[in-house]
Amino acid sequence: MNTPLLTTLAAGLACLFAGTASAQTLKIGLASEPTAVDPHYHQTTPNEALIYHIFQPLVAMNADMQLQPALAKSWEATDDTTWTFKLDERARFSNGEPFTAQDVVFSFCRILNNETAIGGGLTNVARRIVAIETPDAHTVHLKTAAPYPVLPNELARAPMIWSGIAKHDQLHYAPKEGCGVTSAWPTVADFNKGDMVVGTGPYLLKSYVKGTGVVLERNPQYWGDAPAWEQVRMTAVPAAGPRLTGLLAGDFDLIENPAARDLKRIKDSGFAHTIKPSVRVMFFQLDAGREQSPLVKSPKGDNPLQNAQVRQAMSLAIDRKTIVQRIMDGVAEPANQFIPPGMFGSIEGAPPLEYNPKKAKELLAQAGYPDGFELTLSATNDRYINDAQLTQAVAQYLSRIGIKTQVDTMTRSVYFPKRAKKEMSASLGGWGSETGEASNFLQYWITTRNPELGVGSSNYGAYSNPELDKVYLQAVRTLDDDKRSALLQQAVKIALDEMPSIPLHFESGVWAYRSDIQYEGRADQRTMATAARPAQ
């Protein structure tokens, strides 16, 4: 018997075995429903979780937010303003067509010509790409105007689509002129209907009915390792109680975000669970920029939050460990910076943020507020895990050092517009740095607002520090990883010293599932069928 035949036989047997062992359906209970199947529609966690079953980006993030090859097998900065991606020749779309450089050009063109998208963070990224060169079918040069080291991280959220879904001549990257596409650009409705859902990912879209759920089927053409489940059914059950009963009653095999207080019950009922620290940090953003702040009443008639000593005192007053234990039921990690330790640009070995009410009082007195002042904390009560209780606890800690603190919580649809209008003095925020490195949080929440540079867009506290801005801007233009990492650490350090936002904890993603399943959680909180396997 010759070797190729043997290999074929073995492969055939393996397929057969894999087929019998895993010809099953995985039923998932989601906490919120994806709003579209269009991969370029809206960058939200539920949408991305669905999309990455079907589509793939050039590079992907693993469960710990480390970059890894996906459609591109390698990538490097070939000069200051060029990123070169080598595409994987094996990659195929579900219709059998090979994935080529043309599809990359088409995908970026569609992102920039997507009339139906809402809130395209993707557009921001694509706009930085000023030219795309395709010397051969499997090489792509992405050119940017300035050095752009985090481009690969951001491209991990840019799914690639098949160029055949629109009529086109030779494709070239000229988004304003239409790139050579001769028919209308596909809309969100075209994707939702399913006929344009042609991806390179492990699953195919079988059906998508809004409000009812999504059914996925294994992609027989998939060029990577076949996923464990033949079919995946995802149903959204927003309320945690019914979602849990769905699991207990056998309607679901796996649910996301069960309430932390139910974990004991889940364990006692013979189910398993996974807790995975996420990149989402919870924090209070302080109105540090303005002379007067709407929800602050100071004996001196000024805004004490402008004073860094006051902000430090507030941070010192908060016992993060106790909050995590008592309010988060242990399902969170106390934060000592704005992204989890170990991520790119985080401060290595940073000590926990101190809890020291005595020192806090002294600091407050030093700053000129020995009798404190009055402050209202604003927060949502239906957006983040235990957001209202968390705010109550922080208010009590602040009251203990003499800051008379009130709490005002409201539903998210009222909260977010109010915060954007700067009607708050201390507002609860939550942010997952999906790029897996430190520049992301700094860019949106800490740096001085500058729409042209695309920075500081969520800096509602109007904090501004030219030194920090300088270090940050230098960092995001430095291609050398070691240098960039050092610069980012320096910026994070300044932000922690100045404390315009007080980090509280990192939320954890939680999943509960049947005990005969193994599930690996992801730091970006996406629920992926590909991360679940039948237990051995």
Binding site: G29, E33, T35, A36, D38, Y41, H42, Q43, T44, E115, T116, A117, I118, G119, G120, G121, T123, N124, R127, T187, V188, A189, N192, V209, K210, G211, T212, G213, T235, A236, V237, P238, A239, G241, P242, R243, T245, G246, L248, A249, G250, D251, D382, T411, R412, S413, V414, F416, P417, R419, A420, W431, Q443, Y444, W445, P451, G454, S457, S458
Partner: protein
């Protein structure tokens, strides 16, 4: 009859116009959907483009005018969140709600009327008292609590029925219904009963009090004196007379359940219209909320019309044309 219907249609148009003004103004006065839709990593240019595309930069009266002119062409707007037609979203959810409500109303008729009849006829016996007593429980237990007890009992402890969602569907004339599969019925059972319980109690009590009242009326006594069989008296004389208010209430309940079976749909994660409404309110998806209220208003107008016509069928003395004097 024809004049009556035309007149009612004209009235309906006025009602719809008035409702549209009120709803539009109310919904558009609340909050700013852009802050919910757009994440902070979106640049100002994209943000402005989106605001312009959704028409949120225009003054309220202009937005209303645009809405009205589109509505006249049958377009009630595009969902902010889903990017597709609001009516399409609602219509997609409609079959699920319709079948849930139809089963619940069927249960109400099948159980409510006979039980009420028995309770009315045997008012002073233990059977009648038992039924009346049970009915108090039926509408005094909160709907959501009942639903949760059902789930706990039948789904979690006994494991007989699924706790959430809708079963496999079969397309009938292109519309997906789960009424035609066993799995569909398994999913339908708990929410339908949950939705029906309060209504059964209501109809039961209405029927019972109607029956006991009718029994003391002269025409029933006369029929009895004539020596008619009791069964015939109940069918021809009692039931026919008491059914008019019952039919009205069932009609209104049908509409109410379709429009607002929100609690049951939420508890059982039933993918119907009520759940869509709640989701849309949370997300400030204005076009969907407005379209929803408009469609529901139309539904009620229609149901009222049908109920009026049914009156005439049940009781020939009811005149559909107004007296000319």
């Amino acid at each position: 009859m024809a004049i009556f219907i035309v007149r009612r249609m004209l009235q309906s148009v006025l009602v719809l116009l008035a409702v549209s003004v009120v709803v539009f103004a109310a919904v558009y006065a609340v909050g700013d959907p852009i802050e919910l839709l757009v994440s902070p990593d979106v640049g100002q240019a994209e943000r402005d483009a989106l605001i312009a595309r959704l028409g949120l930069d225009l003054p309220l009266w202009q937005q209303y005018f645009h809405f009205l002119s589109r509505a006249l062409h049958g377009d009630l707007g595009t969902s902010f969140v889903h990017g597709v037609s609001a009516v399409e979203l609602i219509v997609q959810r409609f079959p699920a709600t319709l079948e849930l409500v139809t089963v619940a109303i069927a249960l109400t008729c099948i159980l409510g009327i006979p039980l009420g009849l028995v309770a009315g006829l045997y008012r002073d016996r233990w059977l009648g008292r038992g039924i009346m007593g049970g009915s108090v429980l039926g509408f005094s237990l909160p709907n959501f609590w009942q639903g949760m007890v059902f789930i706990l009992l039948f789904a979690v402890w006994l494991g007989w029925l699924p706790a959430s969602g809708r079963g496999a569907t079969v397309d009938v004339l292109g519309v997906p219904f789960s009424l035609f599969t066993a799995e569909g019925w398994r999913h339908l059972a708990l929410p339908a009963v949950n939705l029906a319980v309060a209504n059964i109690a209501l109809i039961l009590r209405m029927t019972a009090s109607g029956v006991s009242e009718a029994q003391s009326q002269d025409y029933v006594r006369f029929a009895r004196a004539k020596g008619l069989r009791p069964g015939r008296i109940v069918r021809r004389h009692i039931l026919r007379n008491i059914l008019i208010p019952v039919v009205t209430v069932i009609g209104m309940e049908f509409g109410t359940l379709i429009a607002y079976s929100t609690i049951t749909e939420t508890v059982f994660s039933w993918p119907g219209m009520g759940k869509l409404l709640i989701d849309s309110v949370y997300q400030l998806d204005r076009p969907v909320i407005v379209a929803y209220v408009m469609l529901v208003t139309m539904l009620f107008v229609l149901i009222n019309l049908i109920v009026d016509i049914l009156y005439a069928v049940l009781d020939p003395r009811v005149q559909l044309t107004e007296p000319s004097a």
